[in-house]
């Protein structure tokens, strides 16, 4: 039924790669045991080995060691663990102040809000009109009480990349040692934009399999060795005593396989498609690119079309077989306009007509021209019935 759909919402979820499923299968039917300690039964020891091999592969992709990577159920949980886990470890000892950005994703922003209700102070550093964090404001925001700076690697909607190295150096006090930790949510940039923890001064990194054609329900958190953090969910002692619960071994194996399958060539192909789409859509009158023209995710295009509303645009595109996303208030469950578009200084009108296109492995070159043509036609149709833009 959905075979003909041109799917351009790969930031939200990606189609699983068959090779990932094949890699996972044995861990449902043969090696299904819980990961036991080295003194357990063979089946459990083999399961434990599979988990650690997967862990090592994913950690290596970040330039990290085996013992620095904690599996979680996905990026939401990873970011909750980072923010709340650091608050639990340092809230009493060091301070109760957290810094994030105005446009970070909800797992970080809402974790910070929860802590705020419990007496923590939260500073949300503003971003410029391209979505980049104001580094001077960031520097000013950090105090001796600041336990954590959590700023995303790439934005979920407009695709803007942050200068993680510069942010990390500010957090570290340019070598002076502040004791403040740096977490970045790299859900959307993982493997598409290089991030090596040996080069970037970052303590915690959120990643997930669902954005790289891996399974949903598995993600992880890089935790630099020696980082003060405590588990916020109680249970057993799994995952270095940071994340209790029976390990999702098929998920972990699938995640590692998905990591293995992402290549720089593939990313370059997505970038080419994205560039052509942006070029075409910016020829539509009264359109503009949201986010940074250069420092942006290679597979993300986010464009606002004036005088039309995003949900209408999305529904018309859906009827023509294209799946995209919008920052329009009408589309959101809460009827609130995108906090990202508002954060970059846009108003409701700009959020209203914003459309996000995100490419993935299963897109083909011809998808670009097909969706561009459909968007051109639908925008023209909706503008014909719009009271705006005619005088």
């Amino acid at each position: 039924m959905f075979e003909d759909v041109v799917y351009l919402d790969n930031a939200a979820a990606t189609r699983l790669d068959e090779r990932v499923l094949e890699a996972m299968k044995p861990y449902f039917f043969d090696l299904y045991a819980v990961a036991t300690s080295q003194f357990g039964y063979s089946l459990g020891i083999d399961a434990r080995d599979a988990l650690d091999v997967a862990r090592g592969q994913i950690a290596a992709a970040l330039g990290a060691g085996l013992e620095e990577f904690v599996f979680t159920s996905g990026s939401t949980e990873s970011s909750n663990l980072a923010v709340k886990g650091v608050a639990l470890a340092l809230g009493e000892k060091k301070g109760r102040h957290i810094v994030t950005s105005a446009i970070d994703d909800f797992p970080v922003l809402h974790s910070a809000r929860t802590l705020e209700r419990q007496g923590f102070q939260v500073t949300r550093v503003p971003v410029d009109e391209t979505g980049r964090v104001d580094l001077d404001r960031l520097r000013d925001a950090i105090t001796p009480e600041t336990i954590l700076v959590s700023i995303q690697a790439a934005n979920q909607e407009i695709g803007t990349l942050q200068d993680l190295k510069a942010i990390g150096e500010i957090v570290r006090g340019n070598g002076k040692g502040t004791g403040t930790l740096f977490h970045t949510d790299a859900t959307h940039s993982f493997l598409r934009v290089p991030l090596d923890v040996r080069e970037i001064p970052v303590d915690l990194v959120t990643v997930s399999a669902h954005t790289i054609h891996g399974p949903k329900g598995i993600g992880g958190l890089y935790v630099r060795e020696g980082t003060p953090i405590r588990k916020w969910m109680d249970g057993g002692f799994q995952e270095f005593d940071l994340r209790p619960g029976v390990e999702n071994i098929p998920g972990a194996v699938g995640f590692a396989k998905a990591v293995e399958l992402v290549t720089p060539d593939e990313t370059a192909r997505l970038r080419t498609m994205r560039d052509r789409l942006i070029e075409r859509l910016l020829q539509v009158p009264e359109s503009r690119l949201n986010g940074h023209p250069v420092h942006r995710l290679p597979h993300n295009a986010n464009i606002s079309f004036r005088f039309v509303e995003g949900e209408s645009l999305l529904l018309h595109l859906d009827m023509r077989g294209f799946a995209v996303s919008t920052g329009s208030a009408c589309f959101s469950r809460s009827l609130e306009a995108s906090h990202v578009i508002l954060g970059i200084g846009g108003n409701h009108e700009r959020a209203h007509g914003s459309v996000r296109f995100t490419f993935g492995r299963f897109n083909e070159d011809e998808d670009v021209d097909a969706v561009a043509k459909a968007v051109e036609e639908v925008v023209a149709d909706l503008r014909r019935i719009s009271p705006l833009g005619k005088d």
Partner: protein, 211 residues
């Protein structure tokens, strides 16, 4: 289909009836604002003999429920007398569409308000306002409820931006609790004036901002 919209809503969304700008209408209205969300314009042609709506059309800058309600409301209004058309409710429009999702009430109410405002515009233009209620602070406040705060997408009154309203001898003074150099100040001034000025006994509208 997992869509929250009924087949009828989707049908009107796909093929909206009576859509487009009318040349030389007898009355028109614009509800909502681009800065904060949906917007509907309604145009009327009225038979002066019978007071029936001879023709009606709409334009929409909005979501599917906004477009569909605009479409159905024109179908419901066509041929009705102004008195009958005035009484068309959101519920009737919603029922005629096979129901609308509750969360979309705001967007669809806008179209119903648009029709009423167009009729009101016709009556004001043609001296048909029967009960000439003098403009009071309450009347002004009611109109301000139709001006949106672009920061939140909710109206000025609900978001506590209306600090003061004074009405005296045809002059209305509205104080908005925003700095005068706020990015939406000009936009809000224009909309407040647009909503309050047509009142029959208002000659002058002053919009001020706090610092």
């Amino acid at each position: 289909m997992p869509l929250p919209y009924s087949e009828l809503v989707m049908e009107h969304f796909r093929n909206p009836r009576n859509v487009g700008r009318m040349d030389d209408p007898d009355a028109k209205s614009v509800e909502g604002s681009p800065a904060c969300g949906d917007m509907v314009a309604v145009y009327l042609k009225v038979d002066p003999e019978t007071q029936r709506i001879a023709d009606v059309s709409f334009e929409s800058y909005g979501c599917a429920s906004n477009i569909a309600t605009g479409s159905i409301i024109t179908e419901l209004a066509k041929g009705k007398t102004l008195e009958q058309a005035k009484k068309i409710t959101w519920k009737e429009a919603s029922d005629a569409l096979g129901g609308l999702p509750p969360i979309k009430t705001h967007c669809s109410v806008l179209a119903v308000d648009g029709l009423r405002a167009a009729i009101q515009n016709y009556e004001e233009r043609h001296g048909l306002v029967k009960e000439r209620v003098p403009t009071t602070v309450e009347v002004v406040r009611k109109r301000l409820k139709r001006v949106m705060n672009p920061l939140t997408g909710l109206d000025l009154v609900r978001t506590n931006l209306v600090q003061d309203v004074e009405v005296a001898e045809g002059k209305v003074r509205v104080v908005i609790d925003l700095p005068a150099d706020h990015q939406f100040a000009a936009n809000i001034r224009e909309e407040v004036t647009e909503k309050v000025e047509p009142l029959w006994d208002v000659e002058h509208v002053i919009v001020e901002f706090t610092d």
